[in-house]
Subunit: 209 residues, 2 copies
Amino acid sequence: MDYTLFSYWRSSCSWRVRIVLSIKNIPYQYHAINILSGEQKGEEYIEKNPLKQVPYLHGEDIGISQSLAIIQYLEDIHPTPSVLPTSPILRAKMWEICEIINSWIHPLQNSKLTNKIEGLGGDKNEWALEVVTSGFRAVENILEQVAGTYCVGNQLTVADACLVPQVCNARRRNVDLTPFPNISRVFETLLALPEIQRAAPENQSDAVK
Amino acid sequence: MDYTLFSYWRSSCSWRVRIVLSIKNIPYQYHAINILSGEQKGEEYIEKNPLKQVPYLHGEDIGISQSLAIIQYLEDIHPTPSVLPTSPILRAKMWEICEIINSWIHPLQNSKLTNKIEGLGGDKNEWALEVVTSGFRAVENILEQVAGTYCVGNQLTVADACLVPQVCNARRRNVDLTPFPNISRVFETLLALPEIQRAAPENQSDAVK
């Protein structure tokens, strides 16, 4: 398999995919897409991804957008080590964590939206804070039931790949993490792992230091 | 298995789960949560789902929120008939369709957000139209490659469960579907199926006619 990942160093969703590639030790070419200069709006890239988003994974017979779709594909093709718990109940709780982050917290505080709110005279930080806090409350609730060393027991899963970028983002927004002891503990543990570090924004070729 | 689905008749995400329950012919109790009267904010319900959302599936050993997490659980426990394509490539394209709807179109035009935009003096319909149109363009692009009778070939999949409620929602917003011939064709085909009809909002016990 010969993969190219179209990615932007600071993109949370790109980071999720890089974490899974790293956990599974899958080699890939890194193709930086500079979101700030609008490279995702170029004609060549729009043909790949009409939503003008990263990440995008190009493989031998396939091009896929949407981080969780890419991750499910990688799990199908490279099942070992698995990033899914074996028990259906734990797998369900894992997807619940992923979707709270992927379909609630992340889209509701993305910059297209927060810029819209700011443009209308609203307080974008207040909005983002409310979204992140309500989402983290729901995630914390699940971690209380299922966390071990990591989000779900002692296995690295897709939930960890979703959690790390979201907590980093929350820290940049100065969200108080005190009410979320499980999220904080798991996050710190994850951040120290070489698999996560290798995938971190600051360690990508397009990082601006 | 003894399931209870906490659902609201007009909730798109509840409808997704009802469609999969219907395709798989899984019996369940229907527990209506009246979103309009704020029943999802009651203490008893918040304990189940701190995000105060429907759907929520209660089973013997489990309670799950987030429509796609619930659907993955149902697929694990009741694998026949499957709502996932067997080919990894088609499965990836299916999840891509699901996530464009689940993590882009749906959250960016949910009423909490559009009310916020309206409250700030913005045009909520213009915003929602832009979100739906950009998302549908991306979905149409994938359907061009993989659609058959349904979204992905000739098998009912999770993508169909996501598409139907989203197109109904778009029609309520008077979105012009002419630029999306594959979406329109697949939607009309799906809407005529008894599996989809059984799960439709107007056929739920809490429907207001």
